[in-house]
């Protein structure tokens, strides 16, 4: 009896998928930016979920090849290829939680396409409406988080302020370059 119910449910699911796919071609795209849902990506940093606004990213890559480069910059993992250029890869877990994660291989490209952040795992892509923005949640010692969180997958999820983190890194590298004589 339970097996027949599961089978009917799967059939209904299949029909629903087909219907949704077919109906998606008839959906009118949302043009109002304010009414359009905002897209977020959820990722995992040391078994904790964090969100990042999609429009603050340039790209997402899995199993990126990170070439280690000796450096005295803490959190700097190396360089990775992006098209025809190299980008610096930083440890997102180190910068957000203060804990290194050298085995992270997901890469999140900055909007300016000059920095990449490595993290543990990509969870999902979410379309979030305005109503899902909630007050910020206590993140402990985490840094570079926005003040407001977003309810993703039913759970309030802290959102990483990626532009702020990138600006901080640029200022730090810029200061370091000037200190080293621009080499």
């Amino acid at each position: 009896m339970a097996e027949s119910n599961d089978h009917e449910r799967l059939l209904m699911r299949l029909n629903q998928l087909r219907t949704q796919f077919d109906a998606s071609f008839a959906d009118v795209p949302v043009t109002n930016a304010d009414a359009a849902p905002k897209e977020y990506l959820t990722l995992t940093l040391r078994d904790r979920s964090f969100g990042i606004a999609l429009d603050e990213c340039r790209g997402l890559r899995a199993n990126g090849v990170i070439v280690p480069v000796p450096s005295d910059v803490v959190g700097f993992m190396g360089v990775a290829g992006r098209g025809r250029k190299l980008v610096a890869v930083h440890d997102l877990c180190w910068w957000v939680l203060g804990q290194p994660r050298p085995q992270a291989r997901w890469l999140l490209l900055d909007r300016n396409d000059d920095l990449a952040f490595a993290f543990d795992a990509f969870e999902a892509h979410h379309l979030v409406s305005k109503e899902d923005e909630v007050a910020g949640v206590a993140a402990g010692a985490a840094r570079f988080l926005r003040q407001r969180a977003v309810r993703l997958s039913g759970q309030p999820t802290p959102i990483i302020d990626l532009p702020a983190l990138a600006a901080t890194l640029r200022e730090q590298f810029g200061a370091a370059r000037e200190d080293s004589g621009g080499t």
């Binding site: 998928l17 999609l54 899995a62 990509f122």
Partner: protein
């Protein structure tokens, strides 16, 4: 005669001596008698015969004379024939006498001469002429024949007398010899009697002593025999009593043996029934073992199929993972496309729509793959659970099969032990049967021994009586030999 000489030899020696003397006496007596008889016979045969023949000679001579006289008187030839015959007979008789007699040559010659003379005279007388007349004949006869006849008669008488005299002498001699022989026999008889008496006395005394000694030994032996017989009688009585008790005990033992035999028979039957049941159970165990093996094989097949199902589900999971990876990659591409589209401005809006749909599709695929993964995980969990349960069941089946093998082994062992027990019961039954048979034989033997004991007791009693009689006889014999001996 030494001490080693037996009583019989001694007695035999005595009797031999007596017999020898008797034989000697007999021989001598026989010889004497024979001699006497022969002498007497000789006297009778020869002497009297000679005398008779001599008297016959006289008769013949008288017949000759008478015949001559008759012829002379009558002139008949008959008398002449008679004369001749008488003369011949006289001659024959004289010849016979000459052969018989010894030492009478002179007398015989005298008779012969006289006869010849008379014969000549008679011949002359006979040849006289008959014409001469009778008186002449008579005168011639008186003148010539009568003297010759007288001479012949005298010669014959002389011969007869001599023969008679000789006969008488011979008879006297033989009588003297007979008396001598009688005296000799008497002497020998006396001597034999004395010797026999002495020998008998010596033997009697010697044998008396030996007999007394032997009788004494017999008496003592008979006393010992009497004592031994008494002991034997007592022992036989006790043995007979003991044998009766043993016979009773053996009878009880026989009854017990029969009961044991009966019990062993029942045990053997029960053991055989048990062995039969064990064999039947063994067959059932063997068939069940096959069933268990089939169950194990079936369970192994189920496990194998479940493991195969697990591998298939794992393969499905891998495929789903691939699909999920594709969905994720698609999602990432869609995200990147959205990002690129958002950066492309207005011209990227349609592409953003497509990218968004692709992203949605990727989400749906990802959701479905998650759901599929969930189902696969459930299937794999169920498979694992089933495999574990099956393995548990398999292990349980294996354990059960091992236990069943142990049970089978134990049952076979029990079956073997039952067979051994049955065989042992059979041997016990046979042994008890043999034992009962042996006890029966022992009972029969004991009965025979008891009977023999009774007979021995009876024999011992008789022996005791015989010993007592022997003792009594020995005392009697001792008293016969030595009257002064006491009992």
């Amino acid at each position: 005669m030494g001490r080693n000489t037996t009583f019989g030899r001694k007695l035999g020696f005595g009797f031999a001596v007596a017999a020898l003397l008797t034989v000697v006496m007999s021989v001598l007596g026989v010889q004497s008698l024979t001699q006497v008889v022969s002498s007497k016979d000789e006297i009778i045969d020869v002497g009297l015969g000679s005398l008779l023949q001599a008297r016959t000679l006289e008769v013949h001579a008288e017949e000759t004379v008478a015949a001559t006289r008759g012829y002379l008187l009558t002139g008949q030839d008959e008398y002449l024939q008679r004369h001749r015959e008488a003369s011949q007979q006289f001659g024959a008789t004289l010849d016979a006498l000459s052969k018989q007699l010894r030492g009478f040559d002179a007398e015989l010659e005298q008779v012969r001469t006289a006869r010849q003379a008379y014969g000549l005279v008679a011949q002359e007388l006979v040849s006289l002429d008959r014409g001469a007349g009778l008186p002449e004949v008579v005168a011639a006869t008186f003148e010539r024949a009568v003297p010759k006849r007288r001479e012949l008669s005298a010669a014959v008488d002389t011969l007869v007398s001599r023969v008679r005299s000789q006969l008488t002498d011979r008879a006297a001699q033989e009588s003297a010899a007979a008396r001598h022989s009688v005296n000799l026999l008497i002497a020998l008889g006396v001597l034999a009697a004395l010797v026999s008496a002495g020998l008998a006395f010596a033997l009697t005394r010697h044998l008396d002593a030996q007999i007394a000694t032997a009788v004494g030994q017999v008496q003592s032996s008979s006393a010992e025999l009497q004592a031994a017989a008494s002991q034997q009688a007592t022992g036989s009585r006790e043995q007979s009593t003991a044998m009766s008790e043993i016979s009773t005990t053996i009878s009880e033992l026989l009854a017990t043996s029969r009961q044991i035999e009966s019990s062993s028979q029942r045990v053997m039957e029960m053991a055989e029934a048990t062995a039969e049941s064990a064999r039947t159970g063994d067959d059932i165990v063997i068939s069940t073992q096959g069933t268990v093996a089939a169950i194990r094989q079936h369970v192994d097949n189920v496990v194998k199929h479940m493991l195969d199902l697990g591998r298939r589900s794992q393969q499905i999971g891998t495929v789903v993972d691939i699909v999920a990876e594709l969905a994720d990659q698609t999602n990432i591409l869609a995200i990147n496309a959205t990002i690129e589209a958002s950066g492309a401005g207005e011209s990227g809006r349609r592409f953003a729509v497509v990218a968004d749909e692709i992203r949605k599709l990727a989400d749906r695929v990802s959701g479905s793959t998650k759901e599929i993964r969930g189902l696969i995980d459930e299937v794999r969990s169920a498979v694992n659970t089933t495999v574990m349960a099956t393995e548990t069941s398999s292990k349980a089946v294996d354990a059960g099969a091992r236990q069943f093998d142990q049970v089978t082994h134990s049952f076979q062992r029990i079956s073997q032990l039952v067979e051994t027990t049955t065989e042992s019961a059979r041997e016990i039954h046979l042994s008890t049967k043999q034992q009962a048979t042996a006890v029966e034989q022992v009972n029969v033997a004991i009965a025979s021994v008891a009977q023999a004991s009774k007979e021995t007791e009876t024999s011992s009693t008789q022996t005791l009586q015989t010993a007592s009689q022997l003792a009594q006889l020995s005392r009697s014999l001792l008293r016969l030999v030595r009257p002064q001996a006491t009992a």
